[in-house]
């Protein structure tokens, strides 16, 4: 190959222009110099022009070079300790002595590549190299333990790819990686196998500071109920120590043992079994160690699923009353746990232990918004079942109007009030003082609107607001003017003090002049009122058959006074710190006060719709029920049973992946006293529950999850009852992360009967996976799985991964652990380096130009006479 090239060869065409010009005017020259001198002048000028045109055309010398450009990749992730830093420094001290003409640059990396440096990295003392995050003063002092986002992971692959991009052509490229090889992201081997340049690897020791970590909590993915299994806790330590190993099942401590730890791997096995939980998280913690550096890696968890009898959670205000139902269910093979409202699950993991949640006579005011949201997620996304039973605290009476749970129920809590029911006159007294500003006043307005909406057409309502003064927001008027009342309520604005007595007095006056059968006042305040004879007024109202309920919002309210007013006023007192509960309280109060939502006349259930779910239950023989709560069915629900008046008794519908049902009577002695002695009682409830609960069938579907580097791979093998692969199915995966964020995806079919997907797991904690396999639109199989994401993989201190480093070096053509002296040693490899010649060409042209001028200014024939002198007349010569 020619060792020259042109960058812009097309500019050589200038020669085609230049040559004729030079020659033509040489021929037609008027110069009188001797011909020979003129020829020399032509040659000189031609050379000059040639040199300039060559420079313009980018005449370049290509010369082979063995000079190297060595890119040093320095792993600065958390797993590399101070010993590693020392090793690198020693290595570089020895290697950089032989740099010679070779060039070197440094690229620190962690979970992502840092910024390329031309200055040598003083390893372990210059954390700012990792980027802005490390510029804190603390990082400078203790870089090795400073937790920086960039250091919390190792992405060898990304660093190697970036290094290749930074290496300039014209040098023999070389990448040298200093690392412990414990990658948490990317696939270094795959990247190395595609690398166009050799990658040498120098192993670094992992942390040598005293370190103990819980590396793994190994539990079987699925066990049978009661089956003994081992929780295997692997603890890695780099020194001999002693510590307390604790194993928790959920929040309960199951095991606490003092154990000796030896340097290396320590495996402890603890036998456990799961009796009642469906999903159990086993966490192991090691504490009380003599020495340990990183504390974040002292705890890890594993999730185990238990297959067994279906489980139902019943929440009942008075747990003793629902026992009979629980016994009846257990006889039919359904386990029932009963808890009071305080035991309502706060987390999805707790609720996931059950196939169905049943609320029996639990008011909405006893539940938090979070609990309701979890229940909705459990039904909608995880396919759980939900049943609400009737009672004086259920449906509308429980304040569920417009609540999250009403949304998932197949019936509405509002209803058409019957004509024969007594009319209600209600006054809402709302505190609009300055302290109510923000959420509180907005919630109060929303609550007042809901209350007005819940009233029947013959009912009347007025709204008063007070601060230092009392304002009539909405005159007493028929509740049918819902739009007008709502507009008027919207005008309430907070500001001023708190003087409640005149407002209460005005409410009394208004109701005294109202011709309603029932009269009720709801007072809402968040502060302490100026004094007044509240109790006397309450007494006076009671004697006028006006009932008073009070609502205290926030911690600063005078709950003692409000409670006393409610007691004397024969109403109810509520205290809440969460303004979001106010609408539920008002809704409950309104429905309760109107005394219209309950019907306590005995009735025989009417079968409206025959269903397979109630086969073998002889509804004809079902005895009387003694009462129920009035509701309205939602348009798409299935009403299975109804009362004699046509109100829904049992209705259900599908909500998301799950199913919910409403039974407006109850399952205890108040209304179902006759039913409890009915032989079909147990069967009826078992079948209703089996219909509504989550159907989980483990057979025919094998789920495997693997997690690595911030993502999890899911493989589902699906086989029909006959053992044939299920093909063409739609396998839907719902992942609910620890912050309850939902992500849905469809699995891709990878082989006959096999479906795969992967999803990111960026957050620590329990991830719930719900897998639904559908064929022809019908869910054939459904499975739940849990995936525990523990602390960062970077903190899982493992020995140096020499295997990986050797492989990376070999597949890319590099060397494993090359001696420092060989770092810059010449190799056989050479590359061509282009050297642009234009400066030399231009300089040469300039030098020639002096000669060129000289040839015009000096008649050389005078000094060195030629034999024949031609030329023009002497007067035309130069000056």
């Amino acid at each position: 190959m020619m060792p020259f090239e042109f960058t812009r060869p097309w500019l050589l065409t200038l020669l085609l222009v230049a040559a004729p010009v030079l020659i033509a005017f040489f021929v037609r020259s008027l110069s009188d110099f001797p011909r020979r001198q003129r020829i020399v002048s032509l040659v000189t000028r031609s050379l000059i022009v040639l040199l300039v045109i060559l420079a313009l055309a980018g005449f370049t010398l290509l010369r082979p070079t063995d000079e190297q450009f060595v890119m040093i990749l320095a792993d600065q992730s958390l797993s590399v300790g101070d010993d590693g830093a020392k090793r690198v420094n020693e290595y570089l001290d020895a290697a950089l002595r032989n740099t010679g003409a070779n060039r070197v640059a440094y690229l620190p990396f962690g979970v992502a590549p840092g910024i390329v440096q031309n200055e040598r990295i003083i390893y372990g003392e210059s954390p700012s190299l990792m980027g802005e995050q490390d510029k804190s003063p603390g990082a400078a002092k203790a870089p090795s333990t400073e937790k920086s986002p960039l250091r919390d992971g190792t992405n060898l692959a990304a660093a190697m790819e970036a290094a290749a991009g930074y290496l300039p052509p014209g040098y023999v490229p070389r990448i040298v990686v200093f690392t412990d090889g414990n990658e948490t992201h990317g696939d270094a081997l795959a990247t190395a196998s595609r690398s166009r340049m050799p990658i040498s690897t120098v192993p670094l020791p992992t942390r040598s500071e005293p370190e103990v970590q819980v590396s793994e909590v190994k539990v079987p993915a699925e066990v049978r109920e009661g089956e003994p299994f081992y929780v295997e806790v692997t603890v890695h330590s780099n020194h001999d120590d002693e510590g307390l190993i604790e194993v928790f099942r959920g929040d309960h401590k199951a095991i606490s043992e003092q154990k000796k730890l030896t340097a290396g791997e320590n495996v402890f096995r603890f036998q456990q079994s799961i009796e009642r939980d469906r999903l159990a998280a086993f966490s192991a913690r090691v504490s009380g160690l003599k020495t340990d550096t990183l504390l974040d890696n002292n705890m890890d968890s594993g999730l185990v699923f238990a297959a067994g009898k279906p489980r139902v959670l019943i929440i009942e205000s008075d747990p003793t009353l629902i026992r009979d139902l629980a016994y009846a269910l257990e006889d039919e093979g359904i386990q029932a746990d009963i808890r009071p409202p305080q035991g309502m699950p706060e987390t999805l993991s707790d609720l996931q232990n059950y196939e169905l949640l049943m609320l029996s006579n639990v008011p909405a005011t006893a539940l938090t918004q979070q609990q309701m949201e979890i229940t909705r997620t459990y039904v909608q996304e995880l396919g759980g079942g939900f049943i609400m039973l009737g009672g004086e605290q259920s449906f509308g009476l429980g304040g569920y109007y417009k609540s999250t749970l009403e949304e998932i129920l197949p019936v509405r809590s509002d209803f058409e009030k019957e004509k024969e029911k007594p009319s209600l006159g209600m006054v809402l007294v709302i505190d609009k003082s300055g302290s109510m500003d923000g959420d509180k006043i907005e919630m109060a307005k929303s609550a007042a609107r809901s209350a007005a909406e819940l009233l029947g057409n013959r009912d009347q309502v007025a709204v008063l607001a007070f601060d230092g003064d009392t304002y009539v927001i909405s005159e007493m008027q028929s509740a049918s003017n819902k739009g007008k009342i709502s507009d008027e309520i919207g005008r309430i604005e907070s500001g001023g003090g708190t003087t409640m007595y005149p407002a209460m007095e005005m409410a009394n006056e208004i109701l005294m002049s109202t011709p309603a059968k029932l009269k009720h006042v709801i007072i809402l305040t968040d502060g302490v009122s100026s004094p007044g004879d509240f109790e006397g007024l309450a007494q006076q109202m009671t004697s006028a058959k006006i009932t008073v309920s009070t609502v205290a919002v926030g911690e600063d309210s005078d709950t003692t006074l409000l409670d006393s007013i409610a007691r004397i006023g024969k109403g109810r007192h509520y205290a809440t710190t969460d303004p979001a509960q106010v609408p539920q309280i008002f809704a409950k109060e309104t429905v309760t006060a109107s005394k219209s939502a309950i019907d306590e006349q005995p009735f025989v259930p009417q079968v409206i719709r025959a269903t397979h779910a109630l086969r073998e239950v002889d509804m004809e023989s079902a005895p009387f029920l003694l009462g129920y709560v009035m509701t309205r069915p939602k348009p798409t629900c299935e009403v299975i049973l109804a009362t004699e008046k046509g109100d829904p008794l049992l209705a259900w519908w599908r909500y998301g992946l799950g199913m919910t049902a409403a039974f407006t009577s109850d399952a205890k002695s108040r209304w179902a006293a006759e039913w409890m002695t009915w032989p079909g009682f147990g069967k009826f409830w078992t079948q209703v529950i089996r219909q509504t609960m989550r159907k989980s069938d483990a057979r025919g579907i094998v789920v495997d999850t693997k997690r690595q580097g911030g993502a999890a791979d899911l493989t589902v093998d699906a086989v029909s009852d006959l053992g044939q692969f299920l093909n063409g199915a739609e396998v839907e995966l719902t992942v609910i992360d620890p912050q309850l964020k939902r992500e849905k995806s469809i699995l891709r079919q990878a082989a006959p009967g096999r479906y795969v997907s992967s999803f990111p797991t960026p957050r620590q904690g329990a991830h719930h996976l719900e897998i639904a396999l559908k064929q022809n639109g019908q869910v054939v199989y459904r499975q739940s799985r849990g995936l525990m994401v523990g602390y960062s993989d970077e903190l899982r201190i493992k020995p140096t991964n020499e295997q990986l480093l050797k492989s990376v070096a070999r597949v890319s053509g590099g060397a494993y652990a090359p001696p420092p002296e060989s770092l810059f040693a010449a190799t056989d490899q050479t590359v061509t380096r282009p050297t642009q010649l234009w400066p030399f060409l231009a300089s040469s042209a300039l030098a020639l130009f002096i000669l060129d001028v000289a040839l015009r200014r000096i008649d050389f024939s005078l000094h060195w006479p030629f034999r024949s002198l031609g030329g023009a007349a002497p007067h035309l010569r130069g000056v």
Binding site: L14, E161, A162, G165, Y166, A750, P752, V811, W838, D859
Partner: protein, 663 residues
């Protein structure tokens, strides 16, 4: 203005000699003439020292000094500060995925893309830098940051078409990384737009340096070209039929016309099936086919006879076969069907025809029946002990039926007359397809196990009737029923129990050898120790390229050679092979001999519905900003213009001097 090479201003000293030449009083040449009468006349007509005469001299000097100035200034390499500030850092991402092989844009999409990238290189300005990154399954840097145009062009010319899928986003991410916080950074993607946005784990993204991300512009080289392709081809052994296998094949007609085609399938060179198909426009078609074969081998599916249907071709008579199916890469797909291994069974019984026939009926079982214990227990053989039990059970897989004695795993108890199965581990694969609830199990033996077994079927008395015994030296199942006394329900269930047990002993290995997608790497299990070969195995690509998987153990010097790519440490039995970037069957072979049976085969297909669809998404086509990186005035360094001016002046000055306009 600054100068890269200010020392070159010394060259301006050349002006010195030129001025000296100018003021030099030259000696006139002496020439004898016959008369000087004419001189006077000429002097009268034209005064010899006119103003022009002086000016001519000055202009001449000026031109010469200007030439010195141009040349000296050029060598000093001047540049404006803004030129440095405006310098760009460009990363060109070249998509060389399989779909870029399509020839709807002549000669191919890839070539058009490369040509366009070359134009970008040509447009590079002084101080600009460019890197070229390939968007394969992993981003691959072809050339690092450089401003040298021929180097960049050579790098572009080296880019070859591939069978790989695309991950443009990772390449863009790498490009942005290379650009860093450069104020004039830009990523230019030359692609056909046939790629999907990938879902990235969030973990890596959360910790990025907060940099200003360089803008990305796309140049799309694609038309609405139609293509029919095989988008999935997998084979899996049946779980129930020992000889059966199931093929999953998916096709995609990514075009606006209905097409007819045929899929021809061959197993080890023999035709298996021919599927005539009519694919509607945009149809994703998939089907699973059940077949049977003991041998296994290479399964190939070929798409042939692609033609427009009568109705479509009537509308578009000009539509040729090639126009319906533009990409050949996805017209053939491969899969590897694992061979079925024959299971050896040693049945030790004093004679039970039913038991013997149950094993013999299984085509994958080779039964040897003996009445007494052998002197030496054969390896790799399932031992079935009927009634007879040794005090010390032999190692390996064991099935004990109706044990008549005690051994190291249990003590024999009493006979239970007519136990009924009440407890059943229906979740166990050993109990698949059998229902033993309430089935009578006559003359069951009560065994007192030394370590608690896993009960598969148990009686109401809590005694295990069928159980898995936990032991360290092999799998063991015990069925305590008297086969001769079993009722019909049990006799029907027993062969299924045995079939389940055989599958359980054999494990699930070999049931599925998944066909891989191009560009992937695979972990393969190779029993290196048993090879007993000194030479390292080779990975042979479908086109015959060979790569050594292991370097010879004692020859460390060879490990840095090109050949040693794709190898893994000698001791490991799990080896990473790849990148498998070519469609077809890759073989791991012992040596370079052609006829040799491969140690392992891996089928690799394009298997990407997105790559098979050659049409770019509309928004991608709209996003195209074709002239994002354009050169402008002063794209070249100032020295270039100075030299250019000097060149012109040299010629002009030549003319002026020769024609005596100046002297």
């Amino acid at each position: 203005m600054s100068f890269a090479n200010p020392i070159a201003w010394f060259l301006a000293l050349a002006a010195g000699p030129i001025i000296v030449f100018y003021i030099l009083k030259l000696r006139l040449r002496r020439l004898p003439v016959s008369t000087n009468l004419f001189w006077k006349q000429i002097y009268d007509e034209k005064p010899p020292r006119s103003i022009w005469q002086y000016l001519r001299h000055l202009l001449s000097l000026l031109a010469q000094l200007l030439l010195v100035a141009f040349l000296a200034a050029a060598v000093a390499d001047p540049f404006f500060a803004w030129q440095l500030l405006e310098a760009r850092r460009i990363v060109v991402v070249v998509d060389n995925s399989a779909s870029m092989r399509a020839s709807d844009i002549a000669p191919t999409r890839l070539q058009a893309a490369i040509d366009s990238a070359k134009a970008l290189v040509e447009g590079l300005r002084f101080q600009d830098e460019m890197a070229i990154v390939l968007a394969g399954p992993r981003p691959e840097v072809v050339v690092g940051m450089s401003g040298h145009v021929p180097t960049l062009k050579r790098a572009l010319e080296e880019i070859a078409p591939s069978d790989n899928p695309t991950d443009v986003e990772s390449a863009i991410e790498l490009g942005r990384q290379l650009i860093g916080e450069h104020p004039h950074g830009e990523v230019v993607v030359v692609t056909d737009g046939c790629w999907d946005a990938m879902v990235k784990p969030e973990g890596g993204q959360e910790v990025k340096l907060e940099t200003k991300l360089a803008p990305v512009t796309y140049r799309v080289f694609a038309t609405e070209a139609a293509n029919v392709g095989i988008t999935q081809f997998q084979v899996r052994r049946s779980l129930i039929d020992p000889l059966g296998y199931e093929v999953l094949i998916a096709m995609r007609n990514a075009g606006p016309s209905e097409v007819k085609c045929r899929v021809e399938m061959e197993l080890a060179g023999l035709p298996v099936d021919i599927l005539p198909l009519t694919l509607k426009p945009e149809e994703h078609w998939s089907r699973s086919l059940e077949k049977s074969s003991l041998e296994g081998g290479r399964l190939v599916a070929k798409l042939t006879q692609v033609a427009a249907t009568a109705s479509t071709s009537g509308d578009k008579p000009t539509e040729s076969k090639a126009a319906l199916n533009l990409l050949p890469t996805d017209d053939t797909a491969w899969a590897v069907l694992p061979e079925r291994e024959i299971q050896k069974v040693l049945l030790i019984t004093e004679g039970n025809l039913f038991l013997q026939k149950v094993f013999e009926a299984n085509p994958l079982v080779r039964v040897e029946t003996r009445k007494d214990f052998p002197d030496q227990w054969p390896a790799d053989t399932l031992v079935v002990l009927h009634r007879q039990v040794l005090p010390l059970l032999p190692a390996g897989n064991l099935l004990v039926v109706d044990p008549a004695g005690s051994c190291d795993a249990w003590d024999l108890g009493e006979t239970i007359e007519n136990p009924i199965v009440t407890e059943l581990d229906s979740a166990s694969r050993l109990m698949t397809y059998v229902r033993l609830d309430n089935v009578l199990m006559p003359e069951s033996k009560q065994l007192k196990y030394k370590s608690p077994p896993k009960v598969l079927a148990g009686a109401i008395s809590k005694d295990a009737i069928y159980a898995e015994v936990t032991r360290a030296n092999g799998k063991c199942l015990v069925l305590t029923v008297n086969l001769d006394r079993g009722d019909l329900a049990f006799r029907t269930a027993f062969p299924i129990l045995v079939a389940n047990a055989l599958g359980w002993y054999a494990g699930e290995t070999g049931e599925l050898r998944e066909s891989l997608a191009t560009g992937s790497t695979a972990e393969v299990q190779l029993d290196i120790a048993s090879q007993g070969e000194r030479s390292a195995p080779l990975l042979r690509s479908p086109s015959g390229r060979e790569q050594t998987l292991f370097p010879p153990a004692d020859d460390e010097t060879k490990k840095n050679t090109e050949e040693s790519r794709n190898e893994a440490p000698q001791a490991a039995s799990s080896i990473s092979v790849g990148p498998l970037d070519e469609c077809g069957v890759w073989n791991v072979v012992k040596s370079a001999s052609e006829a040799e049976t491969p140690l392992m085969s891996l089928a690799v297909n394009l298997a990407s519905a997105r790559e098979s669809d050659l049409r770019p998404p509309r928004e991608m086509a709209e996003q195209t900003t074709a002239e994002s990186v354009v050169s402008n005035w002063l794209a070249r360094p100032l020295w270039f213009y100075l030299l250019f001016a000097a060149c012109a002046l040299f010629l002009a000055e030549w003319f002026l001097y020769q024609r005596r306009v100046i002297t």
